[in-house]
Symmetry: none
Subunit: 253 residues, 2 copies
Amino acid sequence: MLAATRRELLLDRLNRDRRIVAKDVALELGLSEDSIRRDLRELAAEGLLTRVYGGAVPASPAVADYAARTGIASDSKERVAAAAAALVQPGSTVILDGGTTNLAVVEHLPRALECTVVTHSPTIAVALLDHAAEVILIGGRLFKHSVVASGSAAVEAANRINADLFLLGVTGIHPTTGLTTGDADEAAMKRVLVARAAETFALGSAEKVGAASAFQVLPLDAVTGLVLDVEADATSLARLRETGVRIVEAGTR
Amino acid sequence: MLAATRRELLLDRLNRDRRIVAKDVALELGLSEDSIRRDLRELAAEGLLTRVYGGAVPASPAVADYAARTGIASDSKERVAAAAAALVQPGSTVILDGGTTNLAVVEHLPRALECTVVTHSPTIAVALLDHAAEVILIGGRLFKHSVVASGSAAVEAANRINADLFLLGVTGIHPTTGLTTGDADEAAMKRVLVARAAETFALGSAEKVGAASAFQVLPLDAVTGLVLDVEADATSLARLRETGVRIVEAGTR
DNA sequence: GCAGAATGTGTATAAACATGCAAGAACGTG
DNA sequence: CACGTTCTTGCATGTTTATACACATTCTGC
């Protein structure tokens, strides 16, 4: 195992679990805690993480800085993104919708994961640059509000895709209104993408659960399931559960 | 085994596994680790990979990305970009190639300029977000080295475009070799884009004037003109002038 | 305040490294 | 064909780096 590989692994793990326990990693990789500690020390010196007693946590000041630049993702978004990223199987083809939640999903994907990612968001395409994944960009007119390609060219390009999984971003998930978003064209584009994937999961961080926007994308039963933050509003969560739709809980584990 | 073949094999393996362990490869190919290490050293010197203790890992695209983000565009690039941006007429449709020079062009475009920008670079699309320009994104397989969409899907999408102007980025502008770039597929994609625009100007910051890369995009007389930094190497500039190609001087003003 | 865990420091060992050198192959030249 | 040149390769050398162990110190939870 290369030292560089090990450090990447540590950063991936930090991304996934939001913490590293030196002892656990040492045991798992079959080397001494000293080596892990030395790695952690060096990574900390580069500002990539913060050392704490027993292991490490994400860098506090640097991350806040970076997050401020790229648009901070709430804890709820992070939880949902981590759970959604876990749905991506090695070797599979996954469509990533635009939006901050899916951007967070990219951060939670292991860098070495071999898969094909299809996206109509240039932001997400750029974020995938230092991942091993093959990236297919769907082109078209750039809809600037949500920074995704849409329009007829995008629909046409999307119609040639056949994916295993679509991670759908919406602005509202409501028991009766279903999945909604703020723009009609965008809703249409999302419907096209849903049709191109064998399975679709809608991502619902806390502020979206129980909310509704102007345009319906699809009713709840049109998707495979929802990835919902367990810390979202309990009443809304219960109502969604009553509809019988499959729910992946984010934040338990 | 040819040394060139071996180096290709190393790069392939790096692509596949995201890492190279010198010892393993030496054992597998039945030659000494010294030879492998020598190869790795040379490939690292060419920027094709990054050496680490024990082997090598891919050259971090994050580094190039970071350089682009923080605007490490040289003075020469800035001058060329400014002159090129001035070629963009209000109301026109312009194709922007990928690369750092065209990214600098975006920075020099007036934010309020009403025009249509077509690009196959997600980085450039994102950079155009706070401009008034309409953005058309060309999709396709993302070629990670230069961060542009390419492949058949990209060619097909490009073939529907009819633009007034194409700002072509290359890595070499040479009096006899013409316009060159480092990748064959990329060169093909650039040729397609040249065909879709009424006029094409190739952008040549100082380090590109008089240089040549592996693959020819087009001969000099196939483009409308060149935008060249006046502070580039005088001899090379003179030779290019002798060819009779139209030259827009950047930096005089 | 104390016990136990985690940590830092020093040290020994082994692995990986760069460098110089020599043998051999491929090549160009006369 | 002979010769010298250049390039590649493997080996030996000394140097640097990574790792693990031992020990003293610091931190955390009770």
